[in-house]
């Protein structure tokens, strides 16, 4: 199959359209954010062609905003790059989850998937495919989501670069982007553990805000992961007992489960699969 045919097959796949529609609502917020980022690039003194080049090539909103002031004062390259790496660290964590879906693909395809992935695509994808295993419709779904995300970021960003003097930053249009992410976040909260992890993350991110290089994001992730694991452990020990413990036959039981079974609280059912 030629590359063009492969591309056409991806775009025609129904999952491609699902990816597009899943991203539709958030795109308004992404677009507002792109516009504001475009304006900000020109307002820090970057020439319009260079700003367009940066937007098209770098394609990382939060990292761009973080390095703009550094580039404006002519900071050394390593400072600019180190800052961008720190702001991007959360994507390193996300990539460990992308791996379980996309590892069978060729490495060049995996690099492309990585480049075009972002926060919102990640959340939409994980909601659509909660089981971490490859399925054929995941790739067209990803490209559908990534395509609309790319356009809804780049078109307003370039518009913002070209119309920088007509769009006053004081209007606070970027707030629409914050609201979009808030909507995405609220859709991820469904039980006590997720709510508590979010509260912990918010507190940590604000308390550690003074850290350089946006490292407060990393502090918040570490705090929330710890909190989430503690809540799960507490739930496991205190209250939540499974109705039936289903185990593969002839496998050793984990100690916590063995204790529950020995105490006679939980009936055990062994399953043997062909």
């Amino acid at each position: 199959m030629s590359r063009l045919q492969a591309l056409r097959a991806t775009v025609r796949d129904p999952a491609f359209r699902t990816g597009v529609t899943d991203m539709m609502a958030t795109c308004v917020g992404i677009a507002a954010w792109g516009l504001v980022t475009g304006v900000a690039m020109v307002k820090t003194g970057m020439s319009a062609p260079m700003a367009i080049f940066m937007s098209l090539v770098v394609y990382a909103g939060s990292a761009q905003l973080a390095v703009l002031p550094l580039m404006a004062v002519g900071a050394p390259l390593w400072v600019v790059w180190l800052t961008a790496m720190c702001v991007n660290l959360r994507f390193v964590i996300f990539s460990s989850m992308w791996r379980s879906y996309f590892q069978p693909l060729p490495r060049r395809h995996r690099l492309a998937l990585g480049y075009f992935s972002g926060d919102v695509i990640f959340v939409a994808f994980m909601k659509r495919f909660p089981r971490p295993e490859p399925q054929p419709e995941q790739v067209p779904y990803f490209w559908g989501a990534a395509t609309i995300n790319w356009f809804s970021w780049q078109v307003p960003a370039i518009a913002g670069i070209l119309l920088a003097n007509a769009v006053p930053l004081s209007w606070g249009l970027g707030f629409a982007g914050v609201l979009a992410l808030m909507g995405v976040l609220l859709s991820m909260l469904f039980d006590r553990a997720t709510w508590l992890a979010t509260l912990v993350a918010a507190t940590a991110a604000i308390a550690a805000f003074a850290l350089p290089l946006k490292l407060n994001i990393l502090v918040a992730i570490a705090a929330a992961v710890t909190a989430g694991l503690l809540i799960e452990a507490a739930d496991h020990h205190l209250r939540r007992k499974p109705k039936v413990l289903l185990v593969p036959a002839d496998e050793p039981l984990p100690p916590a489960d063995r204790r529950q079974v020995q105490d006679g609280d939980v009936p055990l059912r062994e399953e043997r699969h062909p």
Partner: protein
């Protein structure tokens, strides 16, 4: 004249350094987002870490949003006359009522823009 402008004007091939900076930033985008997809062989992660990492995306989003909603100039806001607070309440209220993200953005902005531009909150 802005600093970057001087930097541009003072150097004949001034586009070279920002271009290198930008190409490096693009490489950082690819490498960070594909990081654990780069090696062909499985990297063993401990089981507790795998379970814990499911909280990472929501923590990252929270960490990006929370300061934008609750801080001004690096400090926690200490006035109720801030357009963001009523806007967030209305947006969250709409979300729990209808569960739509587009409506959440619209509801929040309808409260935010008049208060922010009109009253200067």
């Amino acid at each position: 004249m802005s600093a970057i402008g001087q930097w541009f004007a003072g150097w004949n091939w001034s586009w070279v350094e920002p271009t290198i900076a930008i190409l490096g930033l693009a490489a950082i985008t690819v490498v960070s987002r594909a990081f654990f997809m780069l090696p062909e062989r499985e990297l063993p992660l401990p089981d507790w870490l795998k379970r814990g990492l499911k909280y990472a995306p929501l923590a990252a989003l929270t960490a990006v949003i929370a300061p934008e909603l609750l801080m001004t100039q690096g400090e926690l806001i200490h006035t109720l006359r801030d357009a963001r607070l009523p806007a967030v309440l209305c947006a969250a209220g709409y979300y729990f009522w209808r569960r739509g993200i587009l409506g959440t953005i619209v509801a929040g902005m309808l409260v935010y823009l008049p208060l922010h531009i009109g009253w200067g909150w």
